[in-house]
Subunit: 153 residues, 2 copies
DNA sequence: GAAAACTCCATGCAGATGCATTAATATGAT
DNA sequence: ATCATATTAATGCATCTGCATGGAGTTTTC
């Protein structure tokens, strides 16, 4: 796998981890998204927005907070919110004391959709992740993946 | 994390593994792609095509083989190959004995590009994956991720 | 050996995404 | 106070992607 004896070249183990990370990611995401979509639900990104809001105090967050919580691109989230607001899942309200910002609030419909989606999403996760790992393996995997999220560099 | 006592709901450990899988994936991919692009190179997908061909006997594979090797969608690969052929990185040649198929052959330019890309890609992997994991951790991560790739279900 | 079923690759079209920029507001420095 | 800088969100535009389909060629079936 290694090309030239380059000072900075990753070890085989690291390269392997990387390759499998991309593949498992793409692959499992694809399968789970397919189930969600197959059940007639909106894309997973919407679920992430709804969940992020649901977790927040009062079901409210600024777009920026959602972005950081769910790892969205700003322009992307902006457009999701357009559609979600149009469908009555969230509501944009002014942010007190700073007119650049806004607050996004989840509606009852939004909460309901999040719950209904979970009833498909949860089992899909079980099937595509849970069934393939023992409990301890899942814990170790989560821990290892978390180490990759370090934002330094 | 768990909503209702749903028979099929994933355990917290599994949910956690899933969440981190998506995030670490998106996140690390984004950073590495940014470096590749920042160095003026084409998208990572092209690299995957080139590498797949390079690994093959004679530097040749059918599109279908590339698809399966690199987990591409058929229509997507078809279009990548258009552009890559236009840039002289690969060449499409007839498949002897079956006129539906074709062979894609990597050119010298293609090989050269793959090498140049690796000189940026490799260090990026080191920086964003290698630096965050000990060698043994990388091995364990790769092994765990591989278990997710089981294609049953 | 003809018709049906299948495999392989390409492509038109709608919708999603990325990038760069804009508009509006807020903050900080002098 | 004023002006330069920074932050937040939206959007025009080009590109990319997904889906459905098409056309050409091959294998299977009877």
């Amino acid at each position: 796998m290694q090309e030239q004896p380059d000072m900075q070249a990753p070890s085989d183990a690291v390269t392997d981890a990387w390759v499998h990370l991309i593949r498992a990611g793409r692959d499992v995401v694809r399968r789970i998204e397919a189930e969600i979509k197959g059940a007639g639900f909106p894309p997973l990104a919407w679920y992430d927005v709804l969940l992020s809001l649901k977790k927040a105090q009062d079901g409210r967050r600024t777009p920026r907070e959602i972005e950081r919580d769910a790892l969205f691109e700003q322009y992307n989230l902006s457009r999701f919110l357009d559609r979600m607001e149009a469908e009555g899942l969230v509501r944009r309200i002014p942010y007190p004391g700073d007119r650049r910002r806004q607050l996004v609030e989840i509606t009852e419909e939004g909460r309901a959709l999040q719950r209904r989606m979970w009833s498909v999403y949860g089992p899909a996760i079980s099937r595509h992740v849970g069934c393939k790992l023992a409990e301890g393996e899942a814990e170790r995997l989560a821990a290892l993946l978390q180490k990759l999220a370090d934002t330094r560099t």
